[in-house]
C-alpha cells in the first residue's frame, strides 16, 4: 500500500476544495451576509491542510487499482467532513452529523436535506451548498486528476469512481486521460452556463440561476428555495429544468463524439434509445393518468407536471414542482418504479441505470431460450452493435441484485433505528442509495430528513456513498481478499 501516494492525491483534493470556496466567498461579499468569515476561515483551514500535506508528500507515482479504490472511497468521506466547516462555524447547522449529512448528500448528488427552512441561510452558504453538486456531479475526483501529474493512476481513480458504467459502455477516451478529464469538465460546465443563461432569460436572478443549474445538470436537486422548482411557478422554467435534467442523464462521451462529428456512434447507442423510450413511456403514462384523474385542468398542465416529476426521479435529480403524494395512486406507483431506473451510465446520474436493464433483459431472454427451448443456442448480448463479454453481464447482474438486496436490508436497518413505517424506511434507503433525494411517506417531497436519528443519518450517508461510487468501489473494501497481497 503506497500511503505517500494516497496522501499526495488527498493534498490535491484539499487544495481544490479550499480553492473552490472562493466562489461562495465572492457571493457572500456581494450579498454582504454574516457568513463571510466562516467561509474565509474554512477556505484557509482546508487550503493550509492541503499545503501541509503536500509539503510532506511531494512525490507522486503510479496508483494501483487498490489504491485508486481507497482514494475514491476515503476522498469523498474526508472532503464531506471538511466541507461542514462553514456551516458549523456559522452555526446555521448545529450538529456535525446534520452538517455531514447535508454535505455528503450534496457531493454524492443526492440532494436530501436536513434543513427545515432553506431560505433562512445566507447566500454564501447556500451557494456553497449548491456548489457541492457542481463538484460532485462529474465525479468528484476527476477534477483532482486534472491537477495531478500525468500517469495511468488517473485512469484508475476515474474507473474506481464510476466503474461499472465506464466498464460496461466500454466507451473509453483514447486520448490521454487528463485531456479526457478536461473535455468532460468543459462539456459539463458549458451545460451549466447554458442553463443558467436560459434561466436568466426566464426572469431568475443570477444567484438562483446558478444554484439551480448546479442542481440540474449534475442531477442533484438542492434548490435555494424551500418549495424547490415549484417556487417559481413558471412553465418556462419547468421546461428548461426538464431539458437539462434530461441532458444530464445522457452519457457525456456522446457529447464529445457529437462535437467531433461522430453522429454514427450516437445513433448506434443502444442505451440512449432505451433511455428515450423508457422516459417517454413513463412521462406519457403519468401525464395521462394525471389528466384522466382531473388532478390538473388542462392536458398541457398535466404534461408539464407529470413530465417534470418523472424526469426528475428517473434521472435521480429529485427536484419537485408538486407534492406527488397527493397524486392518484397509479401515478405514484409509476413514480415508485421510475426510482429504480436511473438514466445512462457515464452521465451525472446515479441509480441502477438503463444500460444494466438493457443487458439484463437481453441476457434473461437469451438464457431462458437456451435453458428451455433451444439448448444449443448461445446466449449473446449485443450492445451498440457489438457483443458484450461475460464479465460485463456478471457485473450488470451483480449490480442489480445487490441494489435490491441493499434496499430490503437497508429498510430493516432503518425501521429498527428510527421506527419509521416500513414503506418510508425502504423509500429513505432507495432515495439515498440511488442518490435521488426525496422519497415517499415520511421522507416524501414535502418533508425532509431532519427527524431521522443520528444513526439513521450515518447509515443513509453510507448508502449515498455506496450508490455514488456504483456499489463495488465501496463494497469490495469489505472483502478480506481485497486486503490480501
Amino acid at each position: 500500500m503506497n500511503l505517500a501516494c494516497i496522501c499526495h492525491v488527498m493534498s490535491t483534493l484539499l487544495l481544490v476544495t479550499g480553492g473552490s470556496l472562493l466562489l461562495p466567498i465572492t457571493c457572500s461579499l456581494f450579498y454582504g451576509g454574516d457568513d463571510l468569515w466562516p467561509l474565509a476561515v474554512s477556505a484557509c483551514v482546508i487550503s493550509s491542510a492541503g499545503l501541509l500535506l503536500r509539503l510532506f508528500f511531494r512525490h507522486f507515482s503510479d496508483l494501483s487499482f487498490r489504491e485508486g479504490v481507497l482514494v475514491a472511497a476515503s476522498g469523498w468521506v474526508i472532503i464531506s467532513a471538511l466541507s461542514t466547516l462553514p456551516f458549523l462555524l456559522h452555526g446555521s447547522i448545529g450538529s456535525f452529523t446534520d452538517a455531514y449529512f447535508e454535505m455528503m448528500s450534496g457531493y454524492t448528488t443526492t440532494g436530501a436535506s436536513i434543513l427545515t427552512d432553506i431560505e433562512a441561510l445566507p447566500h454564501g452558504l447556500l451557494f456553497w451548498r449548491s456548489q457541492t453538486h457542481l463538484l460532485g456531479g462529474m465525479g468528484f475526483l476527476t477534477l483532482t486528476l486534472i491537477f495531478l501529474p500525468h500517469g495511468m493512476g488517473s485512469l484508475r481513480i476515474f474507473r474506481a469512481e464510476s466503474s461499472p458504467g465506464q466498464v460496461i459502455t466500454r466507451e473509453k477516451f483514447v486520448a490521454r486521460n487528463r485531456d479526457a478529464m478536461i473535455w468532460l469538465w468543459a462539456i459539463y460546465l458549458s451545460l451549466n452556463i447554458l442553463q443558467a443563461g436560459l434561466l436568466l432569460l426566464g426572469g431568475m436572478d443570477l444567484f438562483n440561476a446558478l444554484c439551480t443549474a448546479f442542481g440540474t445538470v449534475s442531477t442533484s436537486g438542492y434548490s435555494p428555495k424551500n418549495a424547490s422548482i415549484g417556487h417559481y411557478g413558471s412553465a418556462y422554467i419547468d421546461w428548461v429544468v426538464i431539458t437539462f435534467m434530461f441532458l444530464g442523464g445522457i452519457t457525456f462521451l456522446l457529447y464529445y463524439q457529437l462535437l467531433r462529428g461522430r453522429l454514427g456512434s450516437v445513433v448506434a447507442n443502444t442505451e440512449l434509445r432505451w433511455y428515450l423510450v423508457l422516459l417517454s413511456a413513463f412521462c406519457g403514462a403519468v401525464s395521462l393518468d394525471l389528466w384522466a384523474a382531473g388532478t390538473y385542468e388542462s392536458f398541457a398542465e398535466a404534461l408539464r407536471f407529470g413530465t417534470f416529476q418523472v424526469t426528475s426521479l428517473l434521472t435521480t435529480t429529485g427536484f419537485t414542482t408538486a407534492d406527488y403524494e397527493r397524486w392518484p395512486q397509479a401515478a405514484q406507483m409509476f413514480l415508485f418504479v421510475v426510482c429504480f431506473i436511473g438514466a445512462c451510465a457515464g452521465s451525472t446520474t446515479s441509480g441502477i441505470k438503463v444500460v444494466h436493464y438493457v443487458i439484463l433483459c437481453k441476457y434473461l431472454v437469451g438464457a431462458i431460450k437456451k435453458i428451455f427451448i433451444q439448448p444449443l443456442s448461445v446466449v449473446s448480448v449485443r450492445l451498440n452493435g457489438r457483443p458484450v463479454e461475460q464479465a460485463v453481464i456478471d457485473l450488470a447482474v451483480c449490480y442489480f441484485v445487490v441494489n435490491i438486496f441493499m434496499v430490503l436490508l437497508g429498510g430493516c436497518v432503518m425501521v429498527l433505528s428510527d421506527r419509521l413505517d416500513y414503506l418510508s424506511a425502504m423509500s429513505a434507503v432507495i432515495s439515498s442509495l440511488m442518490n435521488i433525494g426525496p422519497g415517499f411517506g415520511a421522507v416524501g417531497p414535502s418533508e425532509n430528513f431532519a427527524f431521522i436519528s443520528d444513526f439513521g443519518k450515518w447509515f443513509l450517508c453510507f448508502n449515498m456513498l455506496v450508490g455514488r461510487l456504483e456499489m463495488f468501489s465501496v463494497l469490495i473494501i469489505f472483502f478480506p481478499a481485497f486486503w490480501r497481497r
Copy 2:
C-alpha cells in the same frame, strides 16, 4: 404437436378430479348439508367429460418437452374452471370469476380468498375448498402421472410443473418415475395424516383437523374458520401448525433419503442449513421486536405469535393468528422481507426459494471478487458439496430478476385496474405470485380479495399460476421460439 396425447392426459386429469369429489360428497352426507346435489352433479359432469375424452383419445405415447409444458399450464387452467361447478350450482359463490379465483387460489396453494364469511359455507363445499390444497400441494399433475401408462413423458410433466427447483437441486429420483411419484405422495399423505392426528389430540374435530392439515402441509393457507388458525386460540395447535408448515417447506426428497437411511445427504444439504438459519434469524428478530415493543406480555407469547407468522409467510403458507398490521413497524418490515424468501426447492412451497438465494449469493461474491480483485480466479458455486453448472446459475439469476420485475410491473397493472394504493397493489401481486395468500394494506390479514375488480382477479390468477409453475413453464409459452419447429 401431439394433441391426442395431450387430450389423453387431460382425460386422466378429469377422472382424478371427478373421483376426488367423493371425499367432499361423503363429508356432505355425514353433515347433511344442502351441498350434496351440487357436489354429486359436479362429480358426474367432470367424470363423464373425462370418460368421453378418454373414449376418443385412448392412445398414449411419449410427450415432448413442449407438450409437457402445455399440459402443465392448460391442466391447471381447465381443472380450476371445472372445479368451480359445486360452488356455482350451490349458489354460495355467485360469479364465475370469484369461484375461479377461489379454485385457482386453492390449487396453486395460494390460499387467497374472496369469501367474506367462510363459516357460512356448508361442510361439503368447505371440504372441497380445502381439498384443492391437498391436490395442488404436491404438484397437481404428479398425481395424474401415477395413473398414466409408464414412460418418459411423466418425467417431462414433473419437470415442467416444478422445473427450476428440480433442475437446480438435481435431486432426481433414480427409480422409475411412477414409483417416485408414489413415494412422494405417500410421504405427503403421511404428513397430512400425522398432523390431523396431532390436531385431534388438541381437541379439534376431524373435519377441522383434516381441513387444517390440508392447508398446512401443502403450505397453502385455506382454513374453514374466518379467523384462520387464530380462531382456536390454542398454543398447542399453533405449535403443531408451525411444525408442519416448517416440514412442508423441506425438500421432499430428503424425507425419502431419510427413510432409506441416507442421513449423509440430509446433513450435506446446503439449502436446508440456510433455510434453518434464515428461519431462525427472522423468527428471533420478529419475536424479540414484539417482546421489546410490549405487543405481547410474556416472551413465550411473543415467540409463539412471532414464530407462527414468520414461518407462515416464509413457507408461503399464509395462515394467521394475529393481525400483523397492528404490530410494530420493524416486525412488519421483517415480514415484508420474509415474503421474498420462500422455503426449499422441491417442497410444497412456492416463492423465490432459499436455493436461489444460496446460488445468487455465492455467485455474487465470486463474480465481484473476480471482476475487481482477482481477475484470474474462477467463479465457482458449490451446492451440496458439488460444483453447480453455469446453466443453473443462469436459471437462479433469471428466476430472481423476473420475480422482481413481475412485482414492479404487476403493481402498475393493479393500481391501474383497481385504484389500490401502490403498497397494497404490489403486495397483492407479491402474495399471489409467491402463492402466499394474505398481504399488506388493502389485502392484509384481516381483509380478503372480494373487493378486487374482475380484471384484477384474473390478473392475480395469472400470477398465481406463473408463481406455482415456477415462472418459466408459463412464460416460455409467450416466446415465439417456443412455437417454432
